[in-house]
Amino acid sequence: MSSTLPSSSVLRFKLPLPLWGLMGGLGLWWLFTTPLWHTDPIVADFSPERTIAALVQLFSHGVIFPHITTSLRRVFVGLFAALVIGVPLGVLLGLSRPLEQATSALFQFIRMISPLSWMPLAVMALGIGDLPVYFLLTVAAIWPFILNTSAGVVAVNPRWLLLSRSLCATRWETISQVIIPAIVPHLLTGMRLAIGIIWIVLVPAEMLGVSAGLGYYILDTRDRLAYSELMAVILIIGLIGYGLDSVLRFAYQRWTHQG
């Protein structure tokens, strides 16, 4: 007589692998901070329980929204400026070997300087407010654009360039209709790296002379000793960063017709 009960393998809840890692991280976080056995009230403030309560509060009161939009605005302005300057420069470097060689040492030198080192200079030159933040973010994000674009141009399939010549395309037509579309995957990779860097530089950049933004809000929660809110903001920063990266990863897959 066979059993009519579903086998245990059907009943077992299947978790996707990435979720296992997230669960593990959450477990560790909880283990080290939970008020269940941590008596220090400051440590307990950092626990997932209180963080999630603070998170719900931040969203339900809407306190966090202006900071999120301010930060995102800065990200997009910085990203846009870096794109507008970095991509044409990268195309130029990719097309001209002498120019690439002439500038490579200079660019490698500047690239290795942490964008945050420019902070005092930026404030001196651009004053207090959004401008120095835009500047820092642009400086941080421009390198992935320049380097990936020029690498992309160099890697364009020579057969496509030959085709373009056989069709009597002008130089501009070759750049705009063959080279630019051909480097889009490189460009999207550059943008992913740029967003990663911008998102990292944003928080410290916003800790100076601005009165809104997620970086500003972190300092604000620290000053108010609102540690569970601080953790909530950290979670938000991570979530938004992950979301931005996912969007670009999706765009990359769509463009290259993978997956």
């Binding site: 057969r159 496509w160 030959l162 085709l163 010549r165 056989s166 069709l167 009597c168 395309a169 002008t170 037509e173 209709q177 063959v178 579309p181 051909a182 889009v184 463009w255 017709h257």
Partner: protein
């Protein structure tokens, strides 16, 4: 080195008097390599009349693809001239269409967009939207790719991709079609299919074709004239006029085939 140059006596007297569509005079190309200069081909004289299909036949390394690229204006010659309708040309020309061994489709464009790409360039006469659409549709019809207009190159088989490449070139209505081993990367059955297709297009449009191939049967099937090249350096060794009407059956040209094979084996053993 003197080589026998035999031509059959069936030359059309009309063709001999008119200006050839393509004339190549004493063309030479050299490449600089680490070992010194390498002469890809030298002293090439070749004429192609309007409506003629000429097959350049030769073993690999005889400089036939290099010659085609030079005629197409994709690389400069070191000596000699290429004339198109009596006019000396040194760059690629809009009235010349080139099809390469690999289809060279731009992967981010659909089949229709790939065809449109070649039509919308500045050097082409500008077309209105309906004209553009009808040109694309006609080209797609010609190569039998109906239903695949919106497909991307990665969704096409090798033969279909080469059809799309052919359509891109045909849509530009070239006076001269330069084909660089266009079917050699395809499997035997698809190749036969494509040869039949090309034969039909040539018959329909009275296209002038200069085609590079290493396949004797392909040359016999398609060519009005078969030109055999010798190598080191690449030069024209012998040519045959094929007068038999198309479509041809391969076995009906056994004699010419044997003659070409004979010549080819002689060419391969020539001292360089």
């Amino acid at each position: 080195m003197n080589q026998p140059l035999t031509t059959s006596s069936t030359d059309n007297p009309l063709q001999a008097t008119s200006i050839p569509l393509l004339a190549v005079q004493n063309l030479q190309k050299r490449y600089k390599t680490r070992q010194g200069t390498l002469t890809a081909f030298d002293g090439i004289d070749l004429q192609v009349q309007t409506g003629e299909v000429v097959c350049l036949l030769g073993a690999s390394g005889c400089g036939k693809s290099s010659l085609l690229a030079t005629i197409a204006g994709l690389q400069s010659a070191d000596r000699g001239e290429v004339y198109l309708q009596g006019r000396s040309v040194r760059q690629s020309q809009p009235q010349v269409g080139v099809v390469f061994q690999d289809p060279c489709l731009l992967p981010w464009l659909t089949v229709a967009q790939n065809i449109a790409f070649g039509l919308k360039l500045k050097h082409m006469p500008s077309l209105t939207r309906p004209e553009l659409r009808s040109r694309i549709a006609a080209a797609i019809d010609q190569v039998g790719l109906q239903g695949f207009e919106q497909s991307y190159p990665h969704q096409l088989s090798g033969g279909m991709a080469q059809r799309a490449a052919l359509a891109r070139t045909l849509a530009r209505r070239p006076q001269l079609l330069l084909l660089d081993e266009p079917f050699s990367a395809l499997d035997a059955i698809t190749r036969l299919d494509m040869q039949t297709l090309l034969l039909r297009i040539i018959a329909q449009q009275q296209t002038t074709v200069l085609m590079v191939t290493h396949d004797i049967d392909e040359a016999l099937l398609l060519g009005d004239r078969v030109v055999l090249m010798a190598r080191h350096p690449g030069r024209i060794y012998q040519e045959w006029q094929i007068t038999q009407p198309k479509p041809r059956l391969a076995h009906s040209l056994t004699e010419t085939r044997c003659a070409i094979l004979d010549a080819l084996s002689t060419v391969m053993t020539l001292p360089t």
